[in-house]
Point group: C2
Chain length 385, copies 2
Amino acid sequence: MRNPSLSPTLLASADFPGPRYHLEEPLPLDSGALLANVTIAYETYGTLNADKSNAILVCHALTGDQYAASSNPITGKTGWWHLAIGAGKPIDTDKYFVICSNVLGSCCGSTGPRDTNSETGKPYGTEFPTVTIGDMVRAQQWLITKHLGIEKLFAVVGASMGGMQALQWAVAYPEAMHSVVAIACSYRHTAQNIAFHEVGRQAIIADLEWHGGEYLSKAATPHRGLAVARMAAHITYLSESSLHEKFGRKLQNRETISYGFEADFQVESYLRHQGMTFVDRFDANSYLYLTRAVDYFDLSADYGGNLAKTFSDKPRYCIISLSSDWLFPTSEHKAIVRALNAVAANVSFVEIDTQRGHDAFLLHEPEFHTILRSYLQTNALQTGL
Amino acid sequence: MRNPSLSPTLLASADFPGPRYHLEEPLPLDSGALLANVTIAYETYGTLNADKSNAILVCHALTGDQYAASSNPITGKTGWWHLAIGAGKPIDTDKYFVICSNVLGSCCGSTGPRDTNSETGKPYGTEFPTVTIGDMVRAQQWLITKHLGIEKLFAVVGASMGGMQALQWAVAYPEAMHSVVAIACSYRHTAQNIAFHEVGRQAIIADLEWHGGEYLSKAATPHRGLAVARMAAHITYLSESSLHEKFGRKLQNRETISYGFEADFQVESYLRHQGMTFVDRFDANSYLYLTRAVDYFDLSADYGGNLAKTFSDKPRYCIISLSSDWLFPTSEHKAIVRALNAVAANVSFVEIDTQRGHDAFLLHEPEFHTILRSYLQTNALQTGL
């Protein structure tokens, strides 16, 4: 039987090159706390035009990063959305100025639980304040307005947790963008999704090397627990039919079952690989904080569950769901569309027919890319871009 | 943050009272190994009639036990299928003699990895041979024929892993029963289901207190990992709609979110409870072995994926699916029914309309109970019972 004995390198902010925005003042958080010394790491692609009217903010998903269209310095892989962002691509960098920032609480250069708490001189660990999607978006809004000096974004685009941020932008700053594109997301996390996140968190917390969250000061990492958390989450990113299609019951490098606990099945080998590579690039405490932020997300909460009341008729919306996404099914998107219709917002909605589940937004999906491209183009014409 | 510090008692076979069958000879296993000194713990309900024609074998699910209709000695809870088995109930003990045995590899009195290996004098741990659904059924068949002297069962009934055993009985011993009732199961485990099992196994193996499987000789238990495994599995036992209905985003004993990692949401509290209580009644290594047995199950494997070839036109079949069961969806059952039709078997099929997911077979589901009752009654008339 395999007993993982990985020793992932402890990554530091300096391992993630690129521009930084050091917030001028402490950031007020939804919890009521003030967070001092906040840094936001970001990347940009394309050129900001003279009247600063062509900027698109791209929001990343749970374990994403700012390297949306450029190589990740740790994994060496091309950017997670390189199929969607680039010259001549749906989010065309010949036309638009694309900004992607690492979210508050993450671990790729923006301030998070791995960073040093200036009050104690030690890593924050679980002393880091709880952050919300609203807090992430507030930090982004400071980046866009105070640092980059952009008054109005052309668009905010995001999928998964990035879609939640896009919706949050629309609610918090409805005049701050021309349009919002929210993909494969929801206006609130469901019980089943909270349950999967809780499994992941408990897997990390159960790891004795988590040390109550203080593993950094003990030169340890709860990489076993984090790998299990990733494995559980990864199942939810794929559809049952894509797992069946891709792996079925196919065996890994063998003709017959081993009658043991090796990764006999390809799907086991694949999942183990997903878990093991994840721990090399992600911080366990960040995983706790970001999953919590997603669980807490509920745009309807302030209005007793009445989602329509949270929206105004600005900005313009494009809501895109993926037919085989069971993490954020089409029904969740339809609830958003109904609420937007109730306030007479300008909303487009499309369900992309795909068998590849939630992660399809990262993959080669021509119909999706065509819609993303043409929605942006139509809006560009309207704004005179 | 919660860091589990449970110390579950190490249970022994003697903690599970009831009759035992000590196999006369070593049991041949599908892996080719011979397992000596096998004991099978079982329970019976009702009275065997004079010609031994009224016996129903009930097969339990993954973490079930022999106490199908009587109190579990560890948890004190009424039997897991007390709603289905008893005087006047669908499996009517006024009429039938019901046998339920703890499966080989489990930990409630039947031989499993927690038991002492007579060759080494130490607990088997991961030295226990890999067992299959076929091996479990072989041991049951010896119990029924050699020990209880029953030549032909009236029925074999099971749900989930119990349904797999029921199908295995039909394939291995088609003349040994009048009818088979297979509920909420499949003829083979899918990639997604293998993936969920693999997450559970890795959660156990990742626990430093698993000690390479030798935790018993170190007076330790990987209870944290086992609890996480149970939490992950438990999500698959419930439907998304039942989780939404039961918990939604309701908070647990609080008015507002805590901005922390407490179990703010009821669904978190519920899952943690499921994990914590499970470790008091189940052995971690048994969990590894039984999930593996289910993963390996594939009735079509010997016939190049042609399921029909595995079945004969005996016995009679009743296949029951649960409409909201996403672990074993109705489509899996229809594949069984199609294969049975191809060999002109006598097969009844029904999909029970329920929103409660896989675990609905354990719950108060009048339509399900009516069908179970009437199917058995019809067959009883035919056999002159």
